[in-house]
């Protein structure tokens, strides 16, 4: 069984956001493999190590720097990568992204048993693409999972979704879509030899022409939503800070809670 992991190149979590001409100023941003995708790659690689999966394919859509995100996935243990890169993809919304990923899956040959995603990419934070892909392909889906058991012979997977007040246990037939989050596993730090090995693993490049898509179907032109503007969130005014004997500071805090914000 082949499984596919989707990987996105995103700004590092430490990133401070700056705006320039109503756009994100990307000049000083450092990019990493989306942390949620690491859980997905780790899970896929573990399935391979357990002998349940023959091949782990990592797919990314993005600019040239997404190649680095794919290399990170290959260093964790994915076997090969696919990079969908085309200038006209800039400005694509999640619907277009899902459409392009589906095309890439078709192009690669549709014999996969599972599609693994991160629950969200930490830049857009939409959580959209996995569900959109699942619907386009007519596949079952379990989002935000913290446990996964796969039985390729029976063609089944059981996944626990972390939801309000507990866990939903979903049984699905294969192929299926899952989205991964913290709590599912502990992603490994790739060893130096594996990082070196990853450099020699193949990455296939696709343009949208390779995927039989036209420029009108992708990017801003093909999208249902568009970004009208970016702004920085309102700055919080610096609050008060009290120091002193516990009795005194607690009195001040109680006063704040009772008289100013009225929660007690």
């Amino acid at each position: 069984m082949k499984v596919v992991v989707f990987c996105k190149s995103v700004p590092d979590t430490e990133t401070r956001v700056k705006l320039k001409d109503n756009r994100l100023d990307k000049s000083e941003i450092k990019y990493i493999l989306n942390p949620y995708d690491e859980f997905a790659v780790e899970e896929a690689v573990r399935m391979k190590e357990a002998g349940k999966v023959d091949e782990v394919v990592a797919i990314s859509m993005g600019p040239e720097r997404a190649r680095e995100a794919l290399r990170s996935a290959l260093a964790i243990g994915a076997d090969r990568g696919i990079l969908i890169k085309d200038d006209v993809l800039d400005g694509s919304d999640t619907y277009v992204t899902a459409k392009v990923l589906v095309k890439a899956l078709e192009k690669d040959g549709a014999e996969y048993g599972m599609l693994l995603f991160g629950q969200q990419a930490i830049d857009g934070d939409t959580w959209h693409v996995p569900g959109q892909v699942a619907e386009m392909l007519g596949l079952p889906q379990a989002g935000s999972i913290i446990k996964l058991e796969v039985d390729p012979d029976a063609g089944k997977a059981v996944a626990n979704r972390l939801v309000e007040g507990g866990e939903e246990v979903h049984e699905m037939s294969l192929p299926c879509v899952v989205t991964c989050r913290k709590g599912l596993n502990e992603p490994r730090y790739p060893s130096l030899p594996n990082i070196m090995k990853a450099k020699r693993k193949p990455i296939q490049d696709y343009s949208i022409a390779d995927l039989d898509l036209s420029p009108e179907e992708v990017g801003k032109a093909g999208s249902f939503t568009e970004v009208l503007s970016y702004s920085l969130p309102p700055k919080k005014e610096a609050g008060r800070k009290v120091e002193g004997e516990p009795e005194e500071v607690v009195q001040a805090l109680v006063k704040f809670l009772k008289e100013e914000i009225k929660v007690i």
Binding site: D125, V129, G131, E135, S144, E164, K182, T225, L253
Partner: protein, 328 residues
């Protein structure tokens, strides 16, 4: 032309984000001078229609089927998506529960419509919806416009104001049938493992008391829980506390945990790393208790207490108890 709200219910009870979405749907419908209509899915849930009407729905589409008794993404998406395609509402809203965040992308893909997630503000501009949402862990705000006729939005819980219900309102109920399809049998929710604590859900709580590495040991969370219970609050944790095994994963607040927007967030023994702030900086009021006067959490706190949490927290609990005893 109307505004629709998917009324999220679980085990026969409407969920708090559903009331917020209904209330916002009513406001938008009034602005557009149109009807607000709700969609209710489940099995044996007809009894909820009156409650939905009391939040301003003019009509309820009721899709009641045993296939929909518990969350089934393909079946739910098909039921809602096909109804949207048939009736073509202008706007469709749903609260951002774990069902809403999971389901609406499927629905939007089925319909072929634009979707904005995690919205904190919705406006009508020239007859079209404009959605505002945080992105990049709350570090930037993005305004989203739609090019599709049908405009779908998911609302961040705890942000939109809930209307006072008006029980004298009633709504027309239209029953919609669901033809089973092959897709529905590909997935089944076989069990719900309850982890109920009796405390509110983090994403829906008015108040949250969170503990971090400064708590030093799992048993010390007893003082956090006592304070939380006194305030009717949820208990949260930093990643450090979760990774140490002191608290369950479901308690984690932050970039790789939950995003919360309570009225009051009390951070106890939490330094305020950027990844933690990502999950809680949109709280209305923030109180920090930390012994390090230079801890970054103080940069976002409305009220900071520099001190030893093991002294401050029990004393605070005691003082609040005294006040409540006086006020009876």
């Amino acid at each position: 032309m109307s505004v629709w709200v998917i009324a999220d219910q679980r085990n026969g009870a409407l969920r708090k984000p559903a009331f917020e979405a209904l209330s916002e749907g009513r406001r938008l419908a009034d602005q557009l001078g149109t009807n607000m209509e709700a969609v209710l899915l489940g099995h044996n849930v007809e009894g909820l229609c009156n409650e939905i009407a009391s939040y301003g729905a003019d009509k309820v589409y009721l899709i009641d089927h045993e296939l929909l008794a518990s969350y089934n993404p393909p079946a739910y998406a098909r039921a809602i998506g096909d109804l949207i395609k048939e009736k073509r509402p202008q706007i469709v809203l749903m609260g951002g529960t774990m069902t809403g965040r999971d389901l609406m992308p499927r629905v939007a893909a089925r319909v072929g419509a634009g979707l904005a997630p995690d919205c904190i503000k919705l406006e009508i501009v020239d007859g079209k919806l404009k959605a505002t949402r945080p992105a990049i862990a709350g570090k930037v705000r993005v305004e989203i416009g739609y090019k599709s006729d049908i405009q779908i939005a998911i609302l961040r819980p705890n942000v939109f104001e809930k209307l006072e219900p008006n029980t004298s309102r009633s709504a027309e109920v239209e029953k919609v049938s669901l033809e089973p399809s092959d897709l529905d049998t590909k997935q089944k929710l076989v069990e719900f493992v309850s982890k109920e604590t009796g405390r509110p859900e983090l994403t829906e709580a008015e108040t949250i008391v969170s503990g971090g590495r400064g708590m030093k040991a799992p048993e010390n969370f007893a003082i956090i829980e006592e304070l939380a219970d006194l305030l009717g609050a949820a208990v949260g944790a930093s990643r450090a506390a979760v990774d140490a095994g002191w608290r369950p994963q479901s308690d984690q607040v932050g970039q790789t945990g939950k995003t919360v927007s309570p009225n009051l967030y009390i951070a106890v023994g939490i330094s305020g790393a950027i990844q933690h702030l990502a999950g809680m900086s949109s709280s209305k009021f923030i109180v920090a208790i930390n012994k390090d006067p230079d801890a970054p959490i103080f940069n976002v706190a409305d009220f900071g207490v520099v001190g030893d949490l093991f002294k401050v927290v029990p004393l605070l609990t005691e003082e609040i108890k005294k006040i409540e005893a006086q006020e009876g």
